[in-house]
């Protein structure tokens, strides 16, 4: 099943039709999505700035990550669920949109960056100013800024 077929199938489900029919469902879900995604990006930025060495420098990075990460995960789960619902409201338009496909690809890249950090880079945290954590934080920050930009551009390029 291609992405196109999946979008076609999804657009004919009861969920998709209910979302399209309702006047207030889309803006309501969108509002929760915005709150969630700003919390994801903001909380990740706090950790990234620490990794780069620009903020929270008196904090032990591992302890800061333990403190912040639960917020990031709750917000991310909320953003993923609301994002999936927004997608379900108009799947055919989204799969044909460059910025939507780009945003999903960048999200996967951000996930890979995070996985790499938790598997390897975290071992370099004990030495203040080590290169790998700084690169990881900068890459994460750049990815999330681009993800937000792509997300905003979807709203201006979506064909109905």
């Amino acid at each position: 099943m291609s992405l196109q077929d999946f979008a076609q199938w999804l657009s004919e489900t009861k969920l998709s039709m209910a979302l399209t029919d309702s006047v207030s469902a889309f803006p309501a879900i969108e509002s929760v999505h915005v709150v969630a995604i700003t919390l994801v990006v903001g909380s990740i930025a706090i950790v990234d700035f620490r990794l780069i060495g620009l903020a929270s420098r008196t904090r032990d990075p591992r302890e800061l990550i333990r403190s912040i990460l639960p917020i990031t995960w709750i917000a991310f789960a909320t953003a993923a669920v609301t994002g999936a619902l927004l997608f379900a409201a108009n799947p055919l338009s989204y799969v044909a949109n460059f910025f939507f496909l780009g945003k999903v690809s960048l999200l996967l890249l951000a996930g890979v960056n995070m996985l790499f950090f938790h598997l390897f880079t975290h071992r370099h945290l004990d030495r203040e100013g080590a290169l790998l954590p700084r690169v990881s934080g900068a890459a994460s920050l750049a990815l999330w800024v681009t993800i937000v930009a792509f997300g905003r551009w979807i709203g201006f390029t979506l064909s109905q």
């Binding site: 803006p27 969108e30 509002s31 915005v34 709150v35 995604i37 700003t38 919390l39 994801v40 990006v41 903001g42 909380s43 930025a45 706090i46 903020a55 929270s56 302890e63 403190s67 917020i71 800024v145 937000v148 930009a149 997300g151 905003r152 551009w153 709203g155 201006f156």
Partner: protein, 172 residues
């Protein structure tokens, strides 16, 4: 009265060099909105940690005054960027926001959320030198939760500007 002066303001803005500069490049408004959302991310993450710390639900290893020191400045800087990028969006498309009640409700909520968040500073100023546990009254905890809810309401009101109906007689 109020609508009339807003219409005069809109007429004055429309056709000005900044209005034309913003409206004639299709990338400017999404770029402004991107900066706007990134600034919201800074504000919301900052006020979340400040207010959850006061409520006793996050960053408990840190003194409240340290959390305020860390986040009040970036939150305030981001609010200034939000005002600037918001103002530029109004200049680019004057009729879009200011003729909708939800926009003015958003501004009122913003003022209340910002003032309430800053009110923690004097409230905890006397504890600056104190070490260890900081007792927080139930009233202050309630204010912290209220501040957080107000910030969320600001964001929701902002998203609703795109969907709300304009006042009768407003320019399109």
């Amino acid at each position: 009265m109020f609508t009339d002066s807003l219409i005069r303001f809109t007429t004055w803005l429309t056709g000005g060099w900044l209005n034309i500069a913003i409206a004639s490049h299709s990338w400017v408004v999404p770029a402004l909105q991107t900066i706007h959302i990134l600034s919201v991310a800074i504000v919301l993450a900052g006020v979340l940690l400040i207010n959850l710390r006061i409520a006793g639900w996050a960053e408990r290893s840190q003194p409240i005054t340290a959390v305020l020191d860390r986040f009040l400045a970036p939150v305030t800087a981001a609010v200034i960027v939000l005002l600037l990028t918001g103002l530029l969006q109004i200049v680019g498309e004057p009729a879009r926001a200011i003729f909708r009640s939800i926009f003015w409700i958003k501004m009122g909520l913003l003022l209340a959320a910002f003032a309430l968040t800053w009110s923690h500073r004097p409230a905890f100023a006397h504890q600056a030198a104190a070490e260890g546990a900081q007792a927080v009254g139930i009233g202050r905890k309630a204010l912290a939760i209220l501040a957080l809810l107000l910030w969320v309401a600001v964001i929701v009101a902002g998203r609703w500007i795109a969907y709300a109906d304009a006042w009768p007689g407003a320019p399109s």
